[in-house]
Symmetry: C2
């Protein structure tokens, strides 16, 4: 494992791939590897990309990866599919990507699908990003299907978040949810050669005007008890998410999008917000990890038949769930 | 609070509404009320309804509520919007509903939006369902936007889950995610008077054939460590989700849908699966509650400056997150 860490730090791609597999499988000893890599992290620009299925996220990320490569930056792509533990979705997207970006040593692609719990996936994604960061990638894209919790998880790891929409999804006002707008730093209307693109842009802008500052504030509260730094604590000046039109497979609008992303990064630096953002991410991570560790410890501490006995008594309506929790905690 | 519980059990709607508000706000003493109500639960048929925005979930639930009312059953509707902590979405849907179902004492409607964390919303929803169950409603609909975690949460409370699609969302293969199919007991293609309805039905059936049995198995693993009973442990015979076409505002297909729902309920009873399902729901709930309680206890036990000091050291790369967790747990 020590060799693997050293090789990863020195740019060995096969070592990196193996280490990531160990991270995903929570292989024994991987904690030490992550600890050894940790001092080398904090340099990558992590960009989250989310949006509904069918908006063309994967080809957008491809086009962005090529644009950043042209600028001489190395790129890693983490494709997370939290909705499907088994479908070929992630793998399919990967094959298309492989064909497109194959042979470029400055690009590294990794797909992750749900195995254990959603919480487990979020934790694993965070660790995978960290390994890629330590491995020296300049830009790390984290792409995920727009799906409630996974969007929130993206905000928890990314410095810049892109929300992708496409024309035709917006024929119902409901279809663009305020919940998605809240997390966007940059909005993209992809497939902008389709009819209705202008309508989608207009709808997004209208919703931004309506909801944005309040939304930010709410999102901060959303993150849980530990969070003390505000997402919007970027030195006073508010960032208004720009709306960029793209046609990813034709590279249309990609330069504008890169400019918008860099402008957001600039804004974070100018506003001295990066440190606060990182602190917030660390707080949330610590909270998640503590929760998981506490639960693991408890399950070890109490005999298995205590739990099954309690469940039996709840089902028999002899004991209500909260009283059961109190009883178990007294015994632990 | 004791009076409120008694009044709720005796069908007092205003007492019920007040009690639900207390539950949502986690008002002091509400635990005892929930404990007192608990022996009266376990009789309602909880039906989850999920699907993407714009598929017409709310009008579908309205039409279903009216259909069940015609059959003489009382109906409660819980509308959960996990994507938006502030938007008027839930409330808007509510107004439409109110107009439609107003004046019927056999229908009770409750909207819930995110306030604290997503986990908090799931817990509150579970408690709200339980109160409505104890209050004697025959059928309880839990309606939520199709959004990753919230779908999973629905499966964790409902006996029967409806997944709603609409034509035009399926122009991309990706648009119907296997992850959504996995949780469906009954599939609905709503807005079936729109062009493309037959295509959507065909696509759904094809995906069901491809993925279903494997999907079920995977979903069970998805639920976390405590789960010992399998979702598909319904006595051998596999339930194949039927696909029903509806046009909710015109009551088209609603009788077919009610028949499909009742057939699923019948299947669960015949296969003696209801007890196993309930046991599984209780296991998951116990796990969630233990996690929350452990975390609350820990945060009380450690001084606040320990946490902020640890976070500072992580940010300085002096300490990695997992070692930090180990350190904190040693001190607690």
């Amino acid at each position: 494992m020590v060799d693997l860490v050293q090789a990863t730090l020195h740019g060995d791609r096969r070592a990196l791939a193996r280490l990531l597999t160990y991270v995903e499988n929570e292989r024994e000893g991987v904690e030490q590897s992550l600890a050894a890599l940790f001092p080398h992290t904090g340099h990558a620009w992590v960009i989250g990309v989310t949006g509904a299925p069918g908006t063309g996220k994967s080809s957008l990320v491809n086009a962005l990866a090529k644009a950043f490569r042209r600028r001489g930056q190395t790129v890693a792509i983490v494709a997370v599919d939290p909705t499907s533990p088994f479908s070929g979705g992630a793998i399919m997207g990967d094959r298309i990507r492989m064909r497109d970006l194959a042979g470029d040593k400055g690009v590294f692609i990794r797909s992750m699908a749900t195995r254990g719990s959603l919480g487990g996936l979020a934790r694993a994604t965070r660790d995978v990003i960290r390994v890629l960061d330590a491995a020296g990638f300049d830009v790390i894209f984290v792409e995920t299907v727009g799906a409630g919790q996974s969007e929130v998880d993206i905000v928890r790891t990314a410095q810049t978040t892109i929300v992708v929409e496409a024309p035709g999804f917006g024929d119902d006002v409901q279809a663009i949810k305020a919940g998605i707008l809240e997390i966007a730093d940059v909005l993209v209307v992809n497939k902008a050669d389709r009819p209705g693109a202008e309508n989608t842009v207009r709808a997004l802008k209208a919703m931004l005007e309506m909801g944005h500052p309040a939304a930010r504030e709410q999102l901060t509260r959303h993150h849980g008890q530990l969070v003390s730094v505000e997402l919007s604590s970027n030195g006073g000046e508010l960032w208004i998410p720009p709306v960029v039109k793209t046609v990813a497979p034709e590279d249309q609008g990609i330069d504008d999008l890169v400019a918008a992303l860099e402008s957001h990064r600039h804004h974070l630096i100018e506003a001295r917000a990066l440190t606060g953002l990182e602190r917030q991410h660390i707080e949330i991570e610590l909270y998640d990890r503590l929760e998981a560790a506490l639960m693991a410890r408890l399950l070890k501490a109490i005999p298995g038949d205590v739990l099954s006995d309690v469940i039996r008594r709840i089902q028999a309506r002899e004991l209500d769930p909260q009283s059961a929790v109190n009883t178990i905690l007294e015994q632990a």
